[in-house]
Amino acid sequence: MSLSAEPIIRVQKEIFDAGEEAAKLTQGRTDIGAVVTFTGLCRDEGGTLAALEIEHYPGMAEAEIARVAVDAAARWTLASLLVIHRYGLIAPGEPIVLVITASAHRGAAFDAASFLMDYLKTRAPFWKKQHARSGTDVEIGSAWVGAKQEDDAAAEKWGR
């Protein structure tokens, strides 16, 4: 695995600070030329969304993210790699997922981060439920987010 540091993988309820995580990852290193961070945030869908609820499969979530990380490290030369995925109730504006890739060169950092997100979307065992702003959950208020075909297509473009 062409990764000069262990990938950092965390599945947590707590909020995270993307900038802090990126700073920690590059701290004291002088072999890194490029750091890409991707933060996925909870949108309010034009004011209709009260919150997202994210269910996950404990154990498998970490294992699957680790497999995706190993895949990324096999494809690109990375200095370090971090994935944080939250679960539980998430308010609009809050971060859901963080991917950080660090490499000597920008191409590897960009491609690996994009690949990780495409794969997490389709392979990591998380499910989003939307809670609507008004109305009760029982009547109109709550619905599981459907998987998007465009996400499958995005993951498939990387081949195997």
Partner: protein, 83 residues
């Protein structure tokens, strides 16, 4: 064998997990889905669109034709929507 259910599969079945003892002859994930579908209304609803159901054995994705012979934990869930 422990079975786990997530998202709307969990909601329809009405439980997060349970111990199951499928009979001889239930060899694959597909067989197990068919057997579970007969365990009640909730199960039938959860598995009515069999093709959309994803499965994992011992924390790894598997296809419907995978053997369940050595499985300690098997999970059923809709397509993932994380990230």
């Amino acid at each position: 064998m422990k079975a786990l259910y997530f998202a709307w599969v969990r909601e329809r079945i009405g439980k997060t997990d349970e111990h199951i003892s499928p009979p001889e002859g239930v060899a694959t994930v597909s067989d197990l889905i068919d057997w579970l579908s007969d365990q009640g209304e909730g199960y039938a609803a959860a598995f009515e669109n069999k093709k959309t159901i994803r499965a994992a054995i011992d924390h790894a994705h598997v296809k419907h034709d995978a053997s369940i012979a050595t499985a300690r934990e098997i999970a059923f869930f809709p397509p993932m929507t994380g990230g």
